[in-house]
């Protein structure tokens, strides 16, 4: 496509505009809201569209492997500059972000209709994508961190959007406790939790940034890549890998990876469009993007002979563990958004796994592409799923899947779109993007040749089984079977469960269609990205991809059609899908067996189910260790140390002074003789003093 002919050519201004426009929109929204209460939504959509169009002009950069790097003075007293860096990576990412958020904005117009705080909502939404675009387009760590925290802030504000803490906005089952702590979160608490937990990652990232700055004297990505003497210096002090891992800590926090994964579930208290935005386009993708930003740099260092293995191993393992961990939990929960949230975390784990494993293999670009491809496809189907789920919530008025059931006739469009997007999540063979991207990850992992490859691969496959299972379960529970009591109750009251308005279903319809559409062209698409990244990595970082032996082997096996697809990975992927789907079908679509009975039939199953339902006790343990425990401790310190010991600094002088005064006063008896006696004794004392 030639965008130049449309009058849109990529220049620095476009790039700036991509992230500035949403902020401008955010600033205009309050003013607009004064004019008309509903105008804020339209302003936001308009600016989101403008930003998306600006982003679209950057696509040629990706296609032609160009980059725009533009700087302006900022903190000149330290010699820091602000700048934008639009390279192929950023160009692709910014489009994903921009367009998906645009669709979500449109969806929000319908979803949020009638809310009393529209202005605030759209302000923060615009702020959110502005910050995300800032992350994507920054050319240095510091500026990136602005966006990074902006995203955190916006998520805080939006997760806790319904700050009045009504019962329906909570997440979790009321009254349910795990290890004595409520597993029931209000929006405000969830927002706080999200912000603080991600902040833990952020400070790690800050520490990593500072470590690198201390050696390199710059925050700029390009400067860091251009001259790597800093890395050698750091490596000689054994600081390089810690710094890299600390930076990855930021990604762990933002992308809700183990062990900072727990905030993501409670973040479901926000409006669903917010969840869609967080999970598909902005917040959690920021972490992946950061790793994608830095991965090549570190790999280039590794290629230059520095030992970076531990870093990539950590990334891969964190990804694998997260993927597995969250998938297990996704299988048992009954809140639809929560299931989706688990799946997000799990899928992000895949991406991390791929990016990590990329660094461990000779074929860096394979894993890199796989991870990034999965990011794109995940963005599409997860946004779609969330918006569809929002629609369901909107219509049914309950967040529990047990309150739905049998909706396939009442909401046919949503039913179809959800199947499409759900298949994407499951990785339905050959027709969905999810399949191709997951397959690419399996392939990359399998081929990496690392010692850890096999266990990670096995975990990935098991996770895939679980993914398919819980997706099937979700769709089955929502659309199949009989209508739940809740829905019947609603209908008895004269409420007709119906399809949501077009403004809502069109956006997720588009994305669902894309999931299938791109899926059909999946391999070509993957190839295209692969090519882009191959050139990008080699030209920018000097990472040469070797067209290795494995690839040729696969070519031999399946011919040109499946070029680049690893047969074992393919087999694993297909069988995982089959097993998962079959299980899900048995329990939830076909309803041949009652899952509850099945679980209760066996103490082992029951225990496992409870273990998963209690989120592996992770949330409770974290709460005990870092929230409740310290609070008790703080109270103790306050009561027994601050209020007693430290207060002594006030009381002891007061008491001693009063006591001393009393004693001294008692010496002043008023009797002259005793005075004179003291005088006489005083002479002796003074003389004695002088003799000393």
């Amino acid at each position: 496509m030639d965008f130049g002919s449309l009058g849109l050519s990529a220049g620095p201004l476009n790039v700036w505009m991509v992230w500035i426009l949403p902020f401008v929109g955010a600033l205009i929204i309050p003013a607009a809201a004064r004019v008309s209460k509903n105008s804020s939504g339209y302003v936001a959509v308009a600016f989101a569209l403008a930003s998306a169009v600006s982003a679209a002009t950057l696509i040629p950069l990706a296609l032609h492997n160009q980059e725009i790097h533009n700087q302006i003075p900022w903190i000149s007293s330290i010699g820091l500059k602000a700048g934008i860096l639009a390279d192929p990576l950023a160009a692709i990412m910014t489009n994903v972000v921009a367009w998906i958020s645009f669709l979500i904005f449109v969806y929000s117009l319908g979803y949020m209709k009638g809310d009393r705080d529209l202005m605030r909502f759209f302000f923060w939404m615009s702020f959110f994508i502005g910050s995300m675009q800032l992350i994507v387009l920054s050319d240095n760590f510091l500026q990136l961190f602005f966006g990074w925290e902006g995203v955190g802030l916006a998520s805080y504000a939006l997760v806790g959007f319904w700050y009045r803490d009504k019962k329906k906005d909570h997440v979790g089952t009321e009254g349910r406790t795990v290890l004595g702590l409520l597993d029931y979160y209000s929006p405000t608490q969830a927002g706080m939790k999200a912000f603080i937990m991600t902040k833990v990652g952020d400070i790690m990232m800050l520490a990593g940034m500072f470590l690198i700055f201390a050696f390199a004297g710059t925050f700029g990505f390009r400067e860091l890549a251009a001259n790597t003497s800093w890395a050698t210096a750091m490596s000689s002090q054994n600081l390089l890998i810690p710094a890299a891992i600390l930076l990855f800590g930021g990604a762990i926090g933002k992308s809700a990876q183990f062990p900072l994964n727990e905030w993501l579930l409670e973040a479901m208290t926000g409006p669903t469009s917010v969840s869609a935005l967080i999970h598909a386009a902005t917040m959690v993708k920021a972490g992946v993007f950061l790793v994608a930003r830095l991965g090549p740099l570190f790999f280039a260092l590794a290629a230059a002979g520095l030992n970076m293995d531990q870093f990539f191993e950590v990334v891969a393992w964190v990804g694998a563990i997260t993927a597995f961990l969250l998938a297990t939990q996704g299988m048992v929960h009954t809140e639809i958004k929560k299931v989706l949230a688990y799946s997000t975390g799990s899928q992000i784990g895949y991406m991390m796994m791929a990016l990590g494993i990329a660094g461990l293999s000779r074929q860096f670009v394979d894993g890199y592409t796989a991870g990034f491809f999965h990011l794109i496809s995940h963005a599409m189907f997860k946004a779609s799923l969330f918006m569809a789920a929002g629609s369901l919530l909107h219509v049914v008025g309950s967040r529990f899947m047990t309150d739905m059931g049998g909706l396939r006739r009442l909401m046919p469009k949503t039913y179809i779109f959800m199947w499409a997007a759900g298949l994407g999540l499951m990785g339905a063979p050959f027709i969905t993007t999810g399949f191709w991207s997951k397959d690419a990850i399996f392939g990359a992992v399998y081929q990496s040749g690392n010692t850890w490859a096999l266990p990670i691969f096995i975990m990935a496959v098991i996770t895939a089984v679980m993914t398919t299972f819980y997706t099937t379960r979700m769709i089955g529970m929502v659309f199949f079977g009989n209508k739940s009591k809740h829905v019947e109750h609603l209908e008895k009251d004269g409420y007709h469960v119906h399809e949501a308005s077009p403004v809502m279903w069109v956006p997720y319809g588009i994305l669902a269609a894309l999931t299938i559409g791109v899926g059909i062209l999946g391999l070509t698409f993957e190839h295209e990205i692969h090519n882009i990244f191959t050139t990008y990595l080699s030209s920018t970082f000097g990472i040469q991809s070797q067209v290795g032996a494995v690839a040729t082997e696969s070519q031999q096996l399946l011919g040109g059609f499946l070029e680049g697809v690893n047969p074992i990975a393919l087999t694993a992927s297909l069988s995982a899908f089959a097993i998962g789907f079959a299980l899900g079908y048995v329990f939830y679509i076909g309803r041949f067996a009652d899952p509850a009975k099945f679980v209760n039939s066996n103490i082992v199953f029951y225990a496992i189910h409870k273990f998963f339902l209690n989120r592996w006790y992770l949330d409770a343990l974290i709460n005990w260790t870092f929230v409740v425990g310290p609070l008790y401790l703080a109270r103790g310190i306050y009561r027994y140390f601050e209020d007693k010991v430290m207060e002594g600094f006030n009381l002891v002088p007061e008491k001693t002074m009063a006591g001393g005064a009393r004693i001294l006063q008692s010496t002043q008896t008023g009797i002259s003789q005793s005075y004179l006696y003291v005088f006489g004794a005083g002479i002796l004392i003074v003389v004695l003093l002088l003799f000393i």
Binding site: Q673, Y677, G680, I683, L684, V687
Partner: protein, 170 residues
């Protein structure tokens, strides 16, 4: 070398000092004090200072002690007898007295003073007058002021009729 006169004077002086303080009757105490002061005058004579001794006798024995005696007689009869002191205070006082005697005495005995003796002739008392009029003349003026102030002050304090003239009630 301690001769008998000195010894006698010492015993007289110190003994009568103790008596002055300890005897129950204040009147006898006053008389004992007179003896002490006379004893001091005796010492002055022993020290070849007849002028000072004279002065001592006239001022102390002659006026001060008499003044005290009169005052004693002014007060009510029962007051001129000793009230019994607190025993603890008394022992503590004796302790302090002994401590002072021992302390200062030890310092003095331990110092080089013990070897000081003299055979030089005593000073002419005319020299005293010369001192007064030359070197110490400002002090003499001040001395006059002291006496004036003490006389004025003592009179003012002791005057009875003022009590009624005082218009303010304090």
């Amino acid at each position: 070398m301690v001769d008998a006169v000195f010894l006698a004077l010492s015993v007289l002086t110190i003994g009568s000092a103790i008596v002055a303080l300890e005897i129950r009757s204040l009147i006898y105490g006053s008389i004992a004090l007179m003896l002490t002061l006379s004893g001091i005058a005796g010492f002055f004579l022993l020290l070849d200072a007849p002028f000072v001794a004279m002065f001592q006798l006239s001022v102390y024995v002659g006026s001060i002690a008499v003044l005290i005696l009169f005052t004693v007689m002014l007060v009510r009869r029962e007051l001129i007898f000793n009230k019994i002191e607190d025993k603890r205070r008394r022992y503590a006082g004796i302790g302090l007295m002994l401590a002072l005697m021992l302390g200062i005495g030890m310092i003095i005995i331990g110092s080089g003073m013990k070897s000081i003796e003299t055979n030089s002739p005593s000073v002419d008392y005319k020299k005293i007058g010369e001192d007064f009029l030359t070197y110490y003349s400002p002090a003499l003026i001040v001395m006059a002021l002291i006496l004036a102030s003490s006389v004025v002050g003592a009179l003012t304090l002791a005057r009875r009729e003022d009590m009624t003239n005082d218009q303010r009630a304090d």
